[in-house]
Symmetry: C2
Subunit: 355 residues, 2 copies
């Protein structure tokens, strides 16, 4: 089982190191190889996603990814910025299904900005389409406006696009995930305004006919942003497009209060996957040894489950994380009175020991 | 001073009636005329925005709008649905600047889903561009995909577009609003992915040079959705495009916990405006006499201030609303222990009396 390790920028190297420590402690036949990505790769070889890194990722069964993004590179042309690495990997590997759980671990409920009674036991799975939509739609660019009230002015434009097969395959992922959970899917769109959303809604309804045991609702994206803020536990599985999914999955993750705990998986149709924490590169705390490695460790667990067919090993990691939380160990981001503050490495050690 | 009254659907007629009651109590020379809009107009004459309604709105100094939207009409073709009325009015009147305050009235802080210490004193002004972006961008439609990995499949598409002058004028509105507040503007975009957002950011920076006293930050939309959920008081003025503004302004409104209290204004460059509550038509409680009329009454106050040049009258209404809250009167949506529950009409009467 081949794993490509792409630590990336900011806290990426620190947190990936802890996940590797935990993976090694499992004593499985895992072959891990590391490559540069993001700002680190730009610094080393002039491109955020070097050819060799892409090849390593393509040849692996799974990619364990840290984070990309570094303010030092924000002024570069867009195609050289760190974020392009993650977009390039998603596209090149065809990682169309992004699974982003938003859950409240019982001992961390108090960390949410929401009142505890609104988030206790929260467990949402957001399924975001990841290779289509306005992220990749052509045409796009700058030009002189060809028509409209500002014809002749400088303008920029992007194209939101979804085709029926793209929507079908992500809808299947959502309905199948719901079958293993509470059996409810909320599809989020803006069908009252957008043509793309109307097709999205039509196709999700069509696919739903194959899943009579799953309940399907539709919600406009503005309302979904409100309902997440008001009563997040009303949701089971949320399925949505790339752009709306970007916004709503981050909102939901933040509402849990412990974004440092949330893993994610991005899968293609061959079950190859890229696994990364839901949080970013946090350049402000990089190198201080205080970043929370648990989201990355839990991402490694998702990797074992979804790409490497090792559900028992995945469950062992998840149980080990629960156990270190129960022991009262906390990195600063989730610390509270009566718990023991630890650093990145000590947390990784504790999880490995708890296996 | 001519006001067009467009009550619309659901609770619209009930809440607009209370705002009219309050306006009449001011004894100003206001000429008010009513017309049908939304589902109500479709039912009466087959179109959500009849010609006569549009003309009345165009000839008025301001439009006082209730709400549109009624599930009975959700199956109609998109151009006949109630929501098209509001989109049509915005476009026809050129109402490019949507001002949406998100604030916590002190006596209602507890109503927020966020912990009270995070929202006490919250006072954000969201400025949403309202006549451009993917809402109105051409081309759009359904077709057989002309290219890409799914060429030949059924696809739908929309175009996100912004031109330099469109961004300039909304940026001016934001910087000028900030000058009268805390002097801070956060511009929200997705410049790491979208061409449109990169132009947005460039132009906002250009306009900023004319406002050296105002502090400008940029934030990606996913991060903005998180920061609103985590620490909303960090914001003063937020300026953003039509689509992101739709999502973020609703999220922010809901976080206050009292969306039934939040007014909005949509202005054109001649200070003509459309004023409506931030909440929707709430068909589930329509006709029961329990809807909160305060957002509409406060919208009437904004109308007096921004379109009718009657700042004293506006301030009188706002003070009257504060006073009924201080008296402990509450519609069910904002009720809590120790307050007196009242209906829509009683609340309107109380505000009129408090003038
Ligand atoms: C870095 C950025 C391009 C990316 C996205 O928008 O998809 C990030 O926000 C994410 O959600 O993974
Ligand atoms: C009804 C709908 C078209 C509208 C919008 O998306 O602009 C509404 O959500 C709003 O925010 O006023």
């Amino acid at each position: 089982m081949k794993i490509a390790l792409l630590p990336g920028d900011g806290i990426g190297p620190e947190i990936v190191a802890e996940a590797v420590k935990v993976l090694k402690a499992l004593a499985l036949p895992l072959e891990m190889q590391e490559a540069a990505v993001g700002g680190a790769a730009y610094a080393a070889c002039g491109h955020p996603l070097p050819e060799a890194t892409l090849r390593l990722a393509q040849e692996a069964d799974a990619v364990l990814f840290g984070a990309v993004g570094d303010p030092r590179y924000d002024q570069l042309e867009r195609h050289l910025r760190p974020e392009q690495a993650i977009l390039g990997l998603r596209k090149a590997l065809g990682l169309f299904a992004n699974l982003r759980p938003a859950m409240c671990h019982a001992p961390l409920t108090h960390a949410s900005s929401l009142k505890p009674e609104l988030v206790a036991g929260l467990d949402i799975l957001i399924i975001r389409e990841l290779t289509g939509d306005i992220y990749f739609g052509q045409p796009r660019g700058r030009r002189s406006a060809p028509d409209g009230p500002f014809a002749g002015s400088e303008e920029a434009f992007d194209t939101m696009r979804y085709s029926r097969p793209e929507i079908e395959r992500i809808a299947h992922v959502a309905f199948q995930a719901a079958q293993k959970r509470q059996g409810r899917v909320t599809s989020v769109d803006k069908a009252n305004v957008l043509e793309t959303s109307q097709l999205w809604r039509d196709v999700v309804c069509d696919v739903h006919r194959q899943y009579p045991g799953v309940q399907l609702d539709h919600m406009y994206v503005d309302n979904a942003a409100m309902q997440l803020a008001r009563a997040p536990r009303q949701f089971d599985v949320i399925v949505t497009g790339n752009l709306f999914g970007d916004i709503l999955s981050d909102e939901a993750a933040m509402l849990t209060g412990s974004i440092g705990m949330l893993p994610s998986a991005s899968l293609n149709d061959k079950k190859q996957g890229l696994y990364e924490p839901s949080h970013g590169s946090a350049p402000d705390i990089a190198g201080q040894g205080i970043a929370n490695p648990l989201a990355t460790i839990l991402s490694a667990a998702m990797m074992l489950r979804f790409s490497l067919n090792q559900p028992e090993a995945a469950a062992r990691i998840e149980a080990a994380v629960q156990s270190v939380l129960a022991q009262g160990l906390r990195t600063p981001d989730i610390a509270s009175e009566g718990t023991r503050k630890v650093g990145t490495r000590e947390m990784g050690d504790a999880v490995a020991a708890a296996l």
